[in-house]
Every structure is written in C-alpha cells, then in structure tokens.
C-alpha cells in the first residue's frame, strides 16, 4: 500500500503514473523492428507483419495476431501484395491496406472475410501513406496517393469514396498529416513545411495555429486526441504546440529542445480532465509534455509502440505492456502523501479498525464532523474502479463498505455495481483473455460491446458467465452468445451432423429467443444442407424456416412449415413458388396432401384464375363444386344456348355428386329458361332470368293467364303459393273482376282473409268487404276490423266469447263515439274472463 505512489510522477498540477499491464507472453525473434504493427484501442488485439517489405516468394512476410497480453491468436504467411498499413476496425476486424489500394479484411483469428478497393485513382498512382481512423460513423481509411492526392472512405462498411481537393504547392510527400473529425465530416490536416491546410470535401483552407512559436519553420509531427477535440504539433524548433483541433485556441506550448523527428506522438488525456498532455516517443526516450515547462522523461530500453486510448496511452514493447495515464482525481485525493481528503481519512480509519485501534474512531469522527462520510465512500468506490491491482481494489472497497456502515441511507447501487464491474474487468484483464480495459473504457464501450468482443475471440463460456453475472437480459445476453457459438459450431467439419445438431440443441434448449434459422443458414452456407434441416426443426418460428427451406429446395417441408406458422401469406408465397417450380401435375398432387394450402390456392384461383379452379375440382372429383362452378359460369354467359349448356354440365356434375335435388332444380331452371325464351319471342315480354314466381307474376300482370296457369301446373307450384301470387298480382294490377272470378274458382287454400287484407292494402274497401263473409269464423273479427266495421267485429267477438279478440276490438273503439259498443264489449269481456 505504501507504494501506491511509487510510480507517480508530477507534471504541473497533476500526477502521471505508468502501470504495468502484462509481461508479454510472446517471443519475438527480431523485436518490433522491421515490422508493421497495429494495436486496436480498448485493449484490443495486436497485429504484426514481419518483413513486410519483402517481395520475394521464397521469404514471404509473416502476419501474426496476438492478444494484448501477447498470446498468439493467428499466424500465417502473407501471400498478397505489398502491405502499406495495418489497422483495426471498431468491430475487431483487421484491415490490411496494400500498395495498390486494395484493402483486405480479416477477422481477429486470421480468417479472411472480404476485400474492397479504394478506387481506380488509388490503384493507378499507388498508395504512398495511409491512416486508419475511427469516427462515430465507423472505421475509415484515408490514403495519400503517389499523385499526392488524398482519398477517403469514412465507413468501410458502407464505402463512399471521396477524393479531396489538391493541396497547393505540394511537390513531394507532406511532412505530416492527420485525419480530423469535425462538423460531422472527416477532414484531413496537412503540413507542408510551415504551411498547414485543412482539406474537406470541396475546399483546401490554409490555417495558422494561434501563437505558434515563430522559430518553427516546419511541422514535423502532429497528433489528434482520441475525441478529436485537441491537436498537438511538434515543430522542427522542438516546440510542442497544443490546442483545439479547430485551430482556434492554443492551450500551451512547451519547448522540448529536441529537434529530431519523433517516432510517434499521442495524446494522453482523460475525459473531463483539466490537464492536457502529449506523449512523444523517440528511439530511446519517452517524453510527457503538459502545460508547464517541466516534462516527465522515461527511458526506453527497446523499440516500443504507443497505443492511444481515451484515458491514457498504452506502451507496448518486446517484453512489456504498460499503461501511462494521468492519476485519476479520486486516486490522487486518497493516496497523495499527507492527503486529508475524506476518502484518504476513511481509508486510514479502516486500516486502524483492522488493527483494532481506537484511532479508527477518531478518523471517522473527523469525517463525520465535516459531514463528508458519503463523499468519502464515493471517493473510495471510485478510486477502486481506477486501480489495476485487485488487492488495492479490495482495500478501497472494504474501506468504502466500512464507511457505509455509518451512513443510514446511502444508495447501495454505486458500491454493488462497482464490485460487479471490477469482477468482470479483472476477469477480462487476465492474460489468457488479454483485454486490459480501464473502468472508464469499459463504461464507454458498454457491456454489449464487451460481450461481442469476447464472442469474436470465441470465449463463449466467459461471455456467458459475464452475461449471467451482470444479469443482462437473456435476449441480448446469453441467447446472443449461444447463437454465435452455434454458428461457429456448425462450421466444424470434423463432427457429424447428428452430433452437432444434438449438441447445439442441448446447449440452446433453455435459452429463449434463439433464431435457429440464422444458425441453419450458416450451416447451409458452409455446405451442410442436412445439418441445416436438422437445425431448422428446432426453430420455434415456423415462419423463419420457410425462406431458407425454399432456398435449399426443400419445398414440401417449406410448405408444411408455412402451414404450421398459420401465416397464410407465407403459405401463399410457398404455393406461388411451387407453382412456378413444379409441373402442374406434381403441383396439384402436392396441394392435394395439404388441405390448408389447397383451400387457399382455391381462393386465389377464384379471384385470379377461374380455369385453374375447374382443374382443381376435376382432379379431386369434387362434383358438387364443379356443379357450382358451372352454375356460376352460366350467369356470365350472355347467350342463352351457352347458358343452358353450362347448366347441363352442372346437372351432370350434380348427378355424379349424388345431389339429386340440385340436379332436378337445375333441370327445372333450364326448362324455365327455355320457356321464358320462347314466350319472350312470342309475346315480346322480357322474362329471361326471372324466378318462377316473378315470371308468373309478370304473365298475370299482362293478362297471360293461360301461360301462368301452365307454369303453375308444369312446375308443380304449391297451391298456396300460387293463390297468394295470383291474388297479389291481380290486386296490383287492379283487376278486381278477375280477382273475384279467381276467388270463386274453387275453395281458397289460403282462406279469404288475405283477400280482404290485400284489397285494403290497395285501398279498395268495397272489394274487400265482398270477401269478409267467406272468412273462417276464427278470422272473422280480424276481417271486420280490417274493413273498419266495428259493429260486426263486436258482434263476432262477443259471439265467439274470446277474451283476447274482445280486447283487440276494444282497443280499436273510441271511448267517445262508440260508447255503446264499448259497454257491450266490456260486459262480454267480464263473462268471458269468468269462464
């Protein structure tokens, strides 16, 4: 503990510390000399290309990929063209930019993924220099060509090449350049001697950094901070100029008195810090330059590489991997010698407490008296987050926990989540994993990305542990990891389909929200159709299975899966696909075995392809439906002959379907049509298409009684119906004479009340009363009332001694005019009721 500050160096107001991250486990024969090297930020992997300038096929360069701790992950001889630059994307892919402008993309285990070109112009004039950069839009590539022009792609996943304007007066390679990200645009800052230019899409603007030392005649090196906010320039006079990257403000300028060009330069600045500093590396010297005149110097004993991070700079050399950073405020407060900050006092109190010394109480009192205990706990928790040694973390957390005991309502989340985070961080910092993330970086990259990175490294068990430990929702956590695992698993050729399918299902069984179809697609893409089918069996979303099954030409299975999903649109899609794919016979056969698909296809045909519909019914020997089909078709036919012949087809089908009724009814219709046609020709009365009822009505209304009679007999119309029909037709026509004749022709099967009522409906009281006498006794009262004869109605009702009829009559009597009737009725009602 006493040595926590041993590696601290003061610079102005702040302290800097260099923390050892790893002893590199790699063994490099030639060190880092003579090789291209790229290390990804956020503790990402390291790529090395040894002997990259070799061109002879006998000694190919070797590409090697290591974790941050130097554990080898991939190694293979480089067989493509001359590589100018290596770099990593935000999603852990390695970019190798070749001299001809082709960019090859590998995954971090050395698997080739794809390649793309930076355009014709670049391939013609060749790549001179290149820089790979990250922006909110993804990973970008900037190239300076042999023609001294810049070409830029801001996002390699969605390549839009931009060729920047020419730099005036440039006749050789510029002394240095950098990519800036400003105003949602990527720009290039170029130094040509003492001149500086900013290039954007359309223009080239000369710029002058405010307050740049007049002794400088050339800018030797420049670097942009991780956040693109700050810029540092190193001039040939040995001055370091630091300011904002828009070149509007100067922060400081320090004279290093070193005039040789450095190897590398990087910002070393933690977010929200008041301090600015830049790390500059020469062959054997590392310099930290801040806002004051002093600098911190470290001697280097071998070739090293600087990797800028958001909150510091990592330094990698042959044997070691270190992090150089400004000491975080919380740590400084607690560990600074003779600090009286609340956190420092709490740590001290806890130490005394462990020693069982009463001094613990004194320290605690001191904090509590200032009301700073909560502050102290917070400081300790925060500082623990920034410490790399688990022992130090524990000491600080224990102190925090101790302090918490004396606070009544301190929210627990801060402490709990820090413990969790640290547990995860310590796990991934282990050299076998090799991701030296700081807590600040971890919070910035989010747990999602961390899990992705573990998955990229195929560290599935650890990823799952992390998800479970941090209680990430299953869908985003465990399930996602398992899916990646399964996609990887299905590509392992040495295992049989059965074994893989079983293993995958076993592992994935309890996880929810897994898309098996995605895994199956992977299997299919790697040529394992059988495995893909097996895996699809496990897919709960039937809908998801269908497109892949179709792609794999497993159409019967696709059809049954589509049906299983219940999504009729999907069924239609497969059916339409099959229709084009199969010959008609096979297609129909397949439908026949799938009733759901068949009825949907029938629906489709009904609206779109009537002829096919007929064929379908034919195939199934569905004579009833065929009959219906012909009936429908007959109505579309303007010519009577055609219509009748279609109906004849319907009759045949109905007989085959043993539907005697339909057959007979259809034959009857044919007879009726012929009759109507004949009569239409003879009498020029429009009749065709009428129902039998309407035909007879029409005939009666034009006085063709004979013909009407004939239809009545031929078609065996029931007497009742005929009588009603004729009654209404004659009344409608006002042929009262004929009506009377009809009424007398024989005994009416419908009685005579209808006669009374129909006449009244046509406002003919006179005719109506003719029939009242013939009405049956039961209906007499109704008949009298219908013609408005209250007197007779009263008589009839009283005679029948029917209470409800008496009441009906009463309701029609008026209390003033029909006094006598009312009286009689009331009396009769009383006796009827008594009975």
């Amino acid at each position: 503990m006493a040595f926590v500050t041993a590696n601290w160096n003061p610079l102005g107001e702040a302290f800097y510390r260099k923390v050892e991250l790893f002893d590199m486990s790699w063994t490099l024969k030639e060190g880092l000399r003579e090789c291209l090297i790229a290390a990804a930020p956020y503790g990402g992997p390291i790529a090395l290309l040894k002997g990259f300038q070799r061109r002879s096929p006998s000694t190919r360069p070797q590409l090697e990929i290591y974790s941050s701790s130097g554990v080898p992950m991939a190694s293979f001889p480089w067989k493509s063209g001359l590589v100018k630059q290596l770099g990593w994307t935000v999603s852990d892919d390695l970019l190798c930019v070749q001299e001809d402008g082709t960019v090859l993309v590998y995954d971090l285990l050395g698997g080739f993924k794809r390649h793309f070109s930076m355009g014709n112009e670049v391939s013609q004039s060749q790549v001179m220099e290149t820089k790979i950069f990250h922006s909110p839009y993804g990973t970008g590539v900037a190239i300076l060509t042999g023609a001294l022009r810049f070409t830029l792609a801001t996002n390699i996943d969605d390549i839009k090449l931009r060729r920047l304007p020419e730099v005036p007066g440039l006749d050789g390679a510029p002394t240095c350049w950098a990519v800036l990200s400003q105003d949602r645009q990527s720009k290039v800052l170029v130094a040509n001697g003492s001149h500086l230019f900013i290039l954007d899409n359309t223009s080239c603007t000369p710029v002058t950094p405010p307050g740049l030392s007049p002794q400088a005649s050339s800018v030797l090196h420049m670097c942009v901070s991780f956040s693109y906010k700050y810029l540092a320039l190193l001039t040939d006079s040995g001055h370091v100029w630091m300011g904002t990257s828009n070149l509007k403000e100067k922060v400081s300028e320090v004279d290093t008195s070193i005039r040789t060009p450095p190897k590398q330069m990087a910002w070393c600045r933690r977010p929200k810090s008041q301090q600015s500093s830049v790390v500059i590396m020469w062959d054997r010297l590392l310099l930290v330059v801040g806002e004051c005149k002093e600098t911190i110097q470290y001697l280097l004993d071998s070739d090293s590489v600087l990797v800028p991070e958001m909150d510091g700079v990592r330094i990698i050399n042959e044997t070691h991997h270190e992090l150089l950073q400004e000491v975080p405020v919380a740590c400084e407060e607690i560990f600074k010698i003779a600090s009286m900050a609340p956190g420092a006092l709490l740590l001290e109190a806890h130490k005394e407490y462990e020693k069982e010394s009463q001094k613990a109480d004194e320290y605690l009192r001191e904090i509590k008296e200032q009301n700073l205990l909560a502050e102290a706990v917070k400081q300790c928790v925060e500082a623990a987050g920034h410490e790399y040694e688990p022992e130090t973390q524990k000491t600080l957390l224990r102190a925090a926990s101790f302090g918490k005991c004396f606070l009544s309502n301190f929210p627990p989340e801060l402490f709990v989540s820090m413990c969790r985070d640290l547990r995860v961080l310590n796990a991934v910092r282990d050299y076998t994993v090799g991701m030296p993330l700081t807590h600040t970086q971890f919070k910035q990259m989010t747990i999602q990305v961390l899990i992705d990175r573990l998955v990229h490294r195929k560290l599935y068990p650890l990823a799952i542990e992390v998800c479970r430990y941090l209680k990430t929702p299953e869908y985003q956590g465990v399930s996602r990891v398992l899916k990646h695992w399964a996609c990887y698993k299905v590509q392992q050729r040495e295992e049989s389909d059965e074994v893989i399918a079983r293993t995958v299902n076993m592992r994935l069984a309890d996880a929810s929200g897994i898309s098996y179809s995605e895994i199956a697609t992977k299997a299919y893409e790697s040529g394992r159709t059988e495995l893909a089918i097996k895996l699809l069996e496990y897919e709960p979303r039937s809908g998801e299975q269908v497109p892949l099954l179709l792609k794999m030409k497993k159409s019967p299975l696709a059809l049954s899966k589509a049906i299983e999903s219940g999504d009729t649109d999907l069924v239609y899609t497969v059916v339409m696909y099959l229709k084009n794919e199969l010959n008609r016979g096979d297609f129909f056969m397949m439908l026949r075995n799938q009733p759901v698909a068949l009825s949907l296809y029938r629906q489709f045909c009904k609206h779109q392809e009537l002829d096919t519909l007929k064929d379908l019914f034919n195939q199934d020997d569905d004579h009833q439906e065929l009959g219906n089909y012909y009936v429908k078709a007959s109505y579309k036919e303007p010519r009577l002959e055609a219509r009748v012949s279609l109906l004849q087809s319907a009759v045949d089908e109905f007989y085959k379907a043993k539907n005697e009724f339909a057959a007979k009814a259809t034959e009857e219709e044919m007879r009726l049509l012929r009759f109507q046609r004949k009569l239409e020709e003879e009498k020029s009365e429009p009749l065709v298409g009428f129902s039998l009822h309407d035909t007879i009505t029409a005939l009666l209304s034009v006085g063709l009684h004979k013909h009407a009679e004939q239809l009545y007999k031929d078609f065996r119309v029931s007497d009742k119906r005929f009588w009603w029909l004729k009654l209404k037709a004659l009344a409608e026509k006002g042929d009262w004479e004929e009506l009377e004749k009809f009424a007398k022709s024989k005994k009416s099967p419908i009685g005579y009340l209808p006669f009374v009522e129909v006449c009244i409906k046509h406002h003919n009281k006179h005719e109506a009363s003719k029939y009242v006498s013939r009405v049956t006794p039961e209906q007499k009262v109704k008949a009298h009332l219908a013609v408005g004869d209250l007197q007779s109605a009263t008589e009839a009702a009283i005679e029948r001694r029917n209470e409800s009829e008496i009441i009906t009559v009463l309701s029609r009597c008026s209390a003033t005019t029909d006094v006598i009737l009312v009286e009689r009725l009331n009396r009769a009602k009383a006796t009827a009721a008594k009975k």
Binding site: D569, H607, K632, P638, S691, L692, V717, K720
Partner: protein, 600 residues
C-alpha cells in the same frame, strides 16, 4: 374524445393510444405534405382509431378513394396508399402508379398494409413493375380495435365466411397476432379455454407465437385472468334469433356500422326549424353509439320493453334538474347551476334522440309482422313442431317476404331440430328457388356447408337435451328487472353466453356431455407466467375474462355478458372481443353468393 375507453375494468385506451402512436410514426416517416388513397373498406375501422384531425396534424391534405385510372391531381409531396393486402387492390395501385403524370413534379409513393404486409402482394407489385416506385412499404398492425370500454372488434366482415365456408384461416392468424399484441400490453393471460376448431387453431398459434416471442416480451402484471375462445359455429342459433335489447334492435332494424347508425331523418327534425321552413332534412341522421353517452350506456342493454320506463324516468330527472334554476337564489347557486348546464343540455338532447329512436323501433315491434315472426322463432327455440313444415314460413315465401328473413327462419328451424328431414329440406329449398330465383342455389349450398342448413342424420335430435341442460329457455323471464341472461331474447338464453357463464361457475366439467354434442374440441391451456407476476387477488376482487367470439358476436350477447359482469355474485367481469359485430341479417348476407348478372 375516446375517454370512455379508459373507464372500463381494463383500460382499452392503452390499445388505442398504441395504435395511434404507430400511425403517427408512419405518417412522419413520409415527410412533407401527403394525400391518402384509401381502400374504402378501411375507413370505417380507422374512424375508431383516429379522426381526420390527427391525420391533418401530420400533413395529410387530401384523401381519395382507391379506384382505377390515375389519382386525382393534388399538390402534395407524398401519395400514401392505405390498403388491405389483396391482389385485386395491388392491380389498382399498379394502374394508379403507372398512369402517374410524368409532366407533374414527381410524388413519392408509399404503401401502408393493414393489418400486415404481404409477400404475395409485393410479388404482384414486382410483376407489375411498380415495386421500386415505392419509397416506403410498411405495415400497420391493426387487429383488435377498441370499440367500447369493454368491447374489441377486428371489424373483419367476412371472417365467418372465410373460416367456415372457404377454409381460409387468414383472419384467425390476425386474431392470434392481435391477442399477442394484447398480451404485450396487458400481460400474459394465464388461462386459455376454448371450444371449436377455430378456437383450437388460434390457441395453438398463440402458444407457438409465445415461444417465438420468448425473451423479447417485457413482462407485465397480467390484467386478464382468463381467455375464452368460442367458435361461432358452436352456437349457430343465437345470431339467427331477433335480438330484443335496445341496442340489438337498433342493429336489427337499422344496422350499426363501425359504431355508427344511420336513421331516417324525419323524426329528428329540429324543433326550431319547424317554424321556419317545411323542408325536412333528407340526409339520414348519423349517430355514434357508445358508452361515452351516459344515457345510452344505461339503456342499450335493457330489454326493449324496459326502455320506455327508463326513458320516462330519465325525462323526469332531467326536467327536475332544469327546475332547479328556480331554487337557485344566491349568485353562488346560480353559478353552480350554469356550470352544470352544458352537461344537462347534452343529457336533454341525448334523451330526445333516444326517445325518437325508441318510437321508431316501437312502431316496428308492435306490428303484427314482428309479433308473428317472433312467435315462430320462440316456438322453434322451445322445440315446438320443429320437424314439420312451418305454415308461417310457407306463407312468408308465398308472399315473397325478404329472402334473408326466410333464410333466418329456415336455418333456425334446422338448427333447433339438429337438421331437417331430407324431404322437408328439399321442400323449403325448392320453394325458395322457385320464388326468389334459381341463383340462390349457391347460397343454399353455402348455408349447408357451414351447417346452418342440414339434412337430419340418423342421429337423434340433441337440441332438446342441450336446451334443457344449459337452460336455454327460461319461462319466467323478467324483462324489467332481469335475473338471468335470457332477458336479452325475452326467454332464450344465448348458448354462447351460457357456456361462458358455466365456465366461470361451476366449470365445464359439469357439462362435459353437452360440450361433446357441440361441434369442435373443447380444451384448456395454461400459459406460464414469469416468476413474480402471479397476481395476488384481493378478497372479493373479481376475475377478468376476455371472451373472444371467432366469427362474430351479436349486441344481445354482448349485453348478456355485461349483465353477467354486473351481477353482484358473479365474481367475473367480462371483456368481449370479436372478429365482427353481427346480426342474423348481416351474417346470412355475408354467406350469400351473388353470381354476376348476365351481360345482356
């Protein structure tokens, strides 16, 4: 505007708001001024979700009806098609797009499929070469539309026909999806009961979808305790009977579409106009009917015979309230009176409206025709002479009464007799064909296919057993102060609702035998709830059951369920969902086939 939706046991406004939010999001996706081209069928259902004002707020400037040819000119940046995924409509859209005037400034095209996008339709647009003309192709998932505070409808007119006649289960897929949406908003429904083939299919799809969605759903405390899925063909009888509740009769007589009714205008002439001019309004009076109207909520589910009394009681209360003004002496009292005025005036105009409607309906219910018809219906339902030719039906055919009336009666006789003797069936059919025309042979065939008409099989008529066991006929029905659901049909207790009632208490196990007589399987499923979401019921707290009628429900059935919810000791409150609100007429109509007329 839709606040009445939030007052029920379950706040259905959440669903409506979710639907509105999706609509706004889509409209904002097509930035700039726009014109909507409507699939006419959708305008009614959309009216229940959003008024024109919402569309206007999102720069909808013009609305057209989808038809062939080219779209009327409108100076807008976007043309948005709101359509169902149907091939016929795709052809029209393709025609619209292809005939777009090339000289005018180009307009962006968008399609919004309701309720779901369709690969088949997109394929068709591709074949027509217009698929790439669309900037946005999206779907608007509108399955269950909140119709009232306890009622959800999919407003899908033909779902009964599609499911039972054409074997097209598309609407069941939408139903299952709709229920998933509902569960996403209101929590997983732990218990599912069902009766019928379609119910089984929907439940299967739901259970599968649940597995599919596993892990993506945000767990919420379940609002519904039980879901009951009922096939309409389990109870074919109820919709055939004439509904006798107030709302049911309005629907029977005038038809309620998407919550609106159109009434003959004469009765609604404003009093003031009478003095001024004689011209009566000729446009039908359009009224919205829902529980937002206090009086309507009170009387809609009453038996019509009890409506008169309720209205006159209300009239007294209102006039008493207006009389209050004479008692108002102090400024404070007057102020209070005035503050209540708008509410009172609304109540008075609502009373006037419903008095007029009740008078219109009374003219019909007191007519002889109505009485005779009802008598026959009740005879059938009580099992009187269901195996003989019915004189009344014969007479009605002879007088060529409306065909649908005949079909309702014949179907009812068939259902109440578990099929008609072949000879009797053929007789009716022949009478119908001779009177109304041979083309109806197709309709009759349809009715046979769905089981509304059928020849009697050798099996014994089991309707009497069903009627007795389920107590479908109650002799002493009290229409004024009902004590049983049978009041909605003045004696007949709707079978579907009886099943629902018995499920809650004592449970279906007690009626296994009868359930076996009704078509389709009956089943029970349980859906596992995430740990910690098990509802702790307060003592005396009611259970909430969602009853889903696949293939339609009548207003009288809805009324009966509301009656059950309100019964003190029922212990269950019901929310009702359906594919469509139907009545016998609209239902039979949906099953009719009209062959296209000959062209000469």
């Amino acid at each position: 505007m839709a606040s009445h939706l939030s007052y029920g046991r379950v706040n259905l406004n959440i669903l409506r708001e979710a639907a509105r939010r999706d609509l706004r999001e889509f409209l904002d996706k097509c930035s700039g001024s726009k014109a909507i081209v409507w699939d006419e069928y959708l305008t009614g259902p959309f009216g229940l979700i959003a008024q024109y004002s919402l569309l206007k707020e999102h720069e909808v400037e013009k609305m057209f009806t989808l038809k062939g040819g080219h779209i009327p000119s409108a100076a807008v940046k976007n043309i948005v098609f709101f359509v169902r995924p149907r091939l016929e409509l795709m052809d029209i859209i393709a025609e619209n797009v292809a005939s777009e005037d090339k000289l005018q400034p180009p307009r962006d095209f968008h399609i919004l499929f309701v309720p779901r996008r369709s690969l088949l339709c997109e394929q068709r647009l591709k074949e027509k070469g217009v698929l790439n003309s669309f900037t946005n192709i999206d779907e608007y998932i509108l399955d269950l539309i909140p119709y009232d505070s306890d009622l959800l409808s999919m407003e899908s007119e033909n779902s009964f026909r599609e499911c039972y006649l054409e074997n097209d289960q598309t609407s069941l897929y939408h139903t299952a999806k709709g229920l998933m949406t509902l569960q996403a908003l209101y929590g997983t429904i732990p218990q599912i009961f069902g009766k019928g083939e379609c119910a089984r299919h929907v439940a299967n799809m739901m259970l599968r979808m649940k597995r599919e969605f596993a892990g993506t759903l945000i767990p919420t405390l379940p609002v519904f305790d039980t879901l009951l899925l009922l096939d309409r063909n389990v109870d074919l009888l109820t919709p055939l009977a004439t509904q006798l509740t107030y709302e049911g009769l309005i629907d029977e007589v005038y038809g309620i579409t998407n919550g609106y009714v159109k009434l003959p205008p004469e009765k609604f002439a404003q009093k003031k106009q009478e003095e001024g001019g004689k011209d009566l309004p000729t446009e039908p009076k359009k009224l919205q009917l829902n529980s937002a109207e206090e009086l309507y909520a009170e009387i809609r589910d009453k038996n019509f015979n009890a409506v008169g009394a309720a209205l006159s009681k209300k009239a007294k209360i209102i006039s008493a309230a207006f009389e209050e003004r004479h008692n108002a002496k102090t400024v404070g009292e007057i102020k209070q009176f005035v503050s209540q005025l708008p509410h009172m005036q609304a109540a008075r105009s609502s009373l006037a409206n419903h008095t007029s409607i009740a008078e219109l309906i009374k003219d019909i219910t007191t007519s002889e025709v109505f009485f005779d018809n009802l008598t026959v219906e009740q005879e059938f339902m009580t099992g009187v002479d269901t195996d003989k030719v019915c004189m009344y039906i014969e007479d009605c055919i002879a007088q060529k009464d409306p065909l649908i009336k005949i079909l309702r009666l014949v179907c009812m006789q068939s259902v109440c007799n578990n099929g008609l003797k072949q000879k009797l069936l053929d007789y009716y059919k022949r009478e119908i064909l001779q009177t109304y025309g041979y083309e109806h042979i197709l309709t009759l065939n349809n009715l046979e296919k769905v089981g509304l008409l059928k020849p009697q099989s050798t099996m014994r008529n089991n309707y009497p057993t069903i009627r007795k066991t389920l107590k479908l006929w109650m002799e002493d029905t009290n229409e004024q102060n009902p004590n049983d659901i049978s009041y909605v049909y003045s004696g007949y207790a709707p079978l579907s609702v009886r099943l629902t009632q018995l499920l809650a208490r004592p449970g279906w196990r007690s009626i296994e035998e009868v359930l076996k007589m009704l078509p389709g399987p009956h089943f029970e499923e349980r859906q596992q709830l995430p740990a910690g979401l098990h509802k702790k019921r307060q003592p005396g707290e009611n259970r909430t059951t969602l009853v889903f009628f696949l293939g339609g429900v009548t207003y009288a059935e809805v009324a009966a369920l509301r009656f059950l919810s309100q019964m003190e000791d029922s212990g269950t409150e019901y929310i009702i969902a359906t594919t469509k609100l139907i009545n016998g007429t609209s239902w039979i109509k949906s099953l009719m086939d009209h062959p296209e007329a000959p062209l000469f």
